[in-house]
């Protein structure tokens, strides 16, 4: 299964988790997501998600002047964002647990035999 399809549902969670570790600016967050193994994630998807989480109040942002390049817009997690992260982490773990349990279940019936 294409991991980008799976990612769509949990990109908020992944971004929140990364920013919660340490405040970061757009490209920094993207790099850390990719470094963690989510290399199929799109640039614009991450930046858009950051903007949306900021607009919904889960993230805060501040500008840090940079000496060698443009200013950087850093994002940090707010209290509301932490609550959201906690909730979504639980949802994800529960969901992943169910799916994992489903996949690990030993096969009891042979589909071919059942239909015959």
């Amino acid at each position: 299964m294409d991991s980008t399809q799976l990612l769509k549902g949990v990109l908020d969670l992944a971004v929140l988790a990364v920013v919660d570790e340490e405040d970061g600016y757009g490209y920094d967050v993207l790099r850390r997501l990719r470094a963690a193994g989510l290399d199929g994630v799109g640039d614009a998807s991450v930046y858009g998600t950051l903007r949306r989480l900021y607009a919904s109040g889960a993230l805060t942002s501040y500008v840090v002047p940079s000496e060698e390049g443009p200013h950087r817009k850093y994002y940090g997690v707010t209290t509301a964002g932490r609550a959201q992260l906690k909730q979504q982490r639980e949802d994800w773990l529960a969901f992943a647990g169910v799916v994992t349990g489903l996949l690990d279940r030993p096969t009891t019936t042979d589909p071919q035999g059942a239909s015959a």
């Binding site: 990109l11 600016y25 757009g26 490209y27 993207l30 790099r31 799109g42 640039d43 614009a44 998807s45 991450v46 930046y47 858009g48 998600t49 903007r51 949306r52 900021y54 607009a55 500008v63 940079s66 390049g69 443009p70 200013h71 950087r72 817009k73």
Partner: protein, 373 residues
């Protein structure tokens, strides 16, 4: 935060890319758009510093769409197929053509939207949008004028289209207005299906046609000034009479009658006039109006005849005074038959040709010679 400083520090290809992304998001409010795009220069610039390239980001418009979708902002307009997601199998030519047409239309629309979002033009555009119902009325009128042009025999144009009797024309116009307005409001096909290519093209074509019809029709519509002059002209010619240009003209005005004189200067009657190609020089039917208070008096000219055929190229034309402006069939047998008018001048100076060989000049020369001997 100082915007120009940021720009200077960003690589030009990055700035160009971000500008294209920004343009794609033109429908968003300034604040919302900058919220989305702000910091993007820095992020992409760093990507390039890291060994990446702007090219690997793909089409800036697709990038903008992804950014918008991830940010949870709805597109303000029709959802378009994202460029760069073309199907792997080559689509049939017709489908490709349709897609291309659609892209051209969407592209033009986008360019237009960006153009009219310039602050100076935005106000004008908003006024124009508010005036759309006026266009719905005008194009309905144009449609009926087109109908009238196609069905009319003389190609004449009036403010009220000439389709059948005036009451009927008004009805047709009313129906056209209702149809046009309902299409404009998106209540009537093709106005209801503007997400599909064919209705969209059809509506575009119809609107362009309406503009063309207006360009043709409007200059032909008689203005108040021309209307009254046409009216007077028609009046002076007799309302049942021929219109301007159908008879002998002199300095832009129809000649009412012609009085020929011979070379001696004496008036002639019954002279037939032909032009250089042997065509009869017809005098237009003419009725001259004068009111003496109690009743209308018309002075009307009558033709000469060759058997049953009326000749209006034989001068002077006879005339008579009567109470209507029309040529009466029984005029010649009435108590008041047409009569030859008196010439305006009893005699005129004689005329000669200076050429030898002409009978007149030759005779004069001879007599002079005889006297001289």
């Amino acid at each position: 935060m100082n915007e120009p400083t940021i720009r200077l520090e960003v690589r030009p290809e990055v700035a160009a890319f971000v500008d294209q992304v920004r343009a794609r998001l033109a429908d968003l409010g300034d604040e919302e758009r900058e919220e989305l795009v702000g910091g993007l220069e820095g992020d992409i610039d760093e990507l390039v510093s890291d060994g990446g390239s702007v090219a690997e980001l793909g089409d800036p418009r697709a990038y903008a769409d992804e950014l918008r979708a991830a940010a949870g902002l709805e597109r303000m307009r029709r959802v378009e197929p994202v460029v760069g997601h073309a199907p792997a199998v080559r689509a049939p030519f017709r489908t490709q053509l349709a897609a291309l047409t659609e892209r051209v239309l969407d592209g033009s629309r986008r360019v237009w939207d960006e153009l009219v979002s310039v602050p100076g033009l935005r106000l004008l555009w908003e006024v124009a949008v508010a005036l759309r119902p006026a266009w719905w009325l005008v194009r309905a009128w144009a449609a009926v004028q087109l109908l009238s042009l196609l069905t009319s025999t003389d190609g004449r144009i009036d403010v009220l289209p000439r389709v059948g009797p005036p009451g009927f024309a008004l009805g047709v116009l009313l129906v056209a207005v209702v149809v046009s307005v309902q299409i404009g409001r998106g209540r009537l096909w093709p106005g209801t299906r503007l997400s599909s290519l064919f209705p969209r093209l059809l509506l575009l074509g119809l609107n362009v046609l309406a503009v063309f019809v207006l360009l043709v029709v409007v200059p032909l519509v008689p203005t108040q000034d021309r209307m009254s002059s046409t009216f007077e002209h028609g009046y002076s010619m007799g309302s049942g009479g021929d219109l301007r240009g159908s008879g002998l003209m002199y300095r832009g005005a129809p000649v009412e009658n012609v009085f020929p004189y011979d070379t001696q200067g004496n008036p002639l009657t019954g002279v037939q006039l032909f032009d250089q190609d042997g065509r009869p020089l017809q005098l237009a039917r003419h009725a001259h109006f004068r009111s003496d208070g109690a009743e209308d008096v018309w002075t009307v000219t009558y033709p000469w005849f060759n058997g049953g055929q009326a000749l209006r190229n034989v001068v002077p034309l006879p005339g008579r005074e009567q109470t209507t402006e029309r040529v009466a069939p029984g005029a010649w047998t009435s108590a008041n038959p047409p009569a030859l008018p008196l010439p305006p001048l009893a005699v005129v100076p004689p005329a000669t040709l200076p050429l030898p060989g002409s009978a007149e000049t030759a005779a004069t020369d001879d007599s002079e010679n005889a006297e001289g001997r």
